[in-house]
């Protein structure tokens, strides 16, 4: 399941719903991304997440489908917020449930790495020095590339 929303989400409720009544699930791995108060450029007071409505949903659905095709998952979830967020606020929740813990871990890790380089979101940080768009990091491409398979086309 994927969702793109302005509002916060309830991590416990989302995770409980994901495995409810499914007794084939042995492991549920989840990851929550939060707004930090420090950026490389200094203290941040808030950030605004812009996204591309339509393409965002499509990109997240593609990433989830890819995870489902690679690992034996019983359930998966991507929720990503947009709009204005403050330090400590939740940005994103990804989760994967599987009979075995390894598959749950790998799929969850894949979801957040892929999302980071493929989902059309952009962060504008408010620092003491004014608002600045966050630059993409090479390390994020490296993290996503680790999940690339030999038969994937280069981009």
């Amino acid at each position: 399941m994927i969702r793109v929303q302005l509002d916060d989400f309830d991590v416990g409720a989302e995770l409980a719903r994901l495995t409810e009544g499914n007794h084939a699930v042995g492991g549920l791995c989840s990851f929550v991304g939060l707004v930090r108060d420090m950026a490389p450029e200094g203290k941040i007071s808030a950030m605004t997440l812009e996204h591309y409505p339509g393409m965002t949903e499509k990109a997240l659905a593609d990433i989830e489908a890819e995870a489902q095709s690679r690992w034996p998952l019983e359930a998966s979830l991507i929720i990503h917020r947009y709009g204005r967020l403050e330090p400590g606020d939740r940005i994103v929740l990804v989760a994967a449930a599987s009979p075995h813990r390894e598959a749950a871990f790998e799929a969850c890790h894949f979801l957040i790495d892929y999302l980071k380089t493929k989902a059309p979101f952009w962060k504008l940080e408010d620092t003491g020095a004014g608002a600045a768009w966050v630059d993409a990091r090479d390390s994020d491409d490296t993290a996503a590339d680790r999940w690339r398979r030999p038969d994937d086309a280069a981009e």
């Binding site: 930090r36 990503h80 980071k116 059309p120």
Partner: protein
Amino acid sequence: MKVLYFAWVREKTGRAVEDMDLPAGVATVADLIEWQRGRGGGYADAFGDDKAIRVAVNQTHVGKSHPVAEGDEVAFFPPVTGGAP
């Protein structure tokens, strides 16, 4: 053709979306970027550094050699920065 701009590309062009006819001589994303640069002003600024721009055609990431056609939805934006640190 529907053209969209996001993040600092949007700020530099001064618009989020515009409808346009496919410009004469434009067959690929690279052609369209060159054409945008030729519009001058904020467009020249936004499209000045080809390498800093990412493109989606019909809501799918594409390379610069990808074709563009009348009726396409084309979006220009910086590398994405969602998710978590």
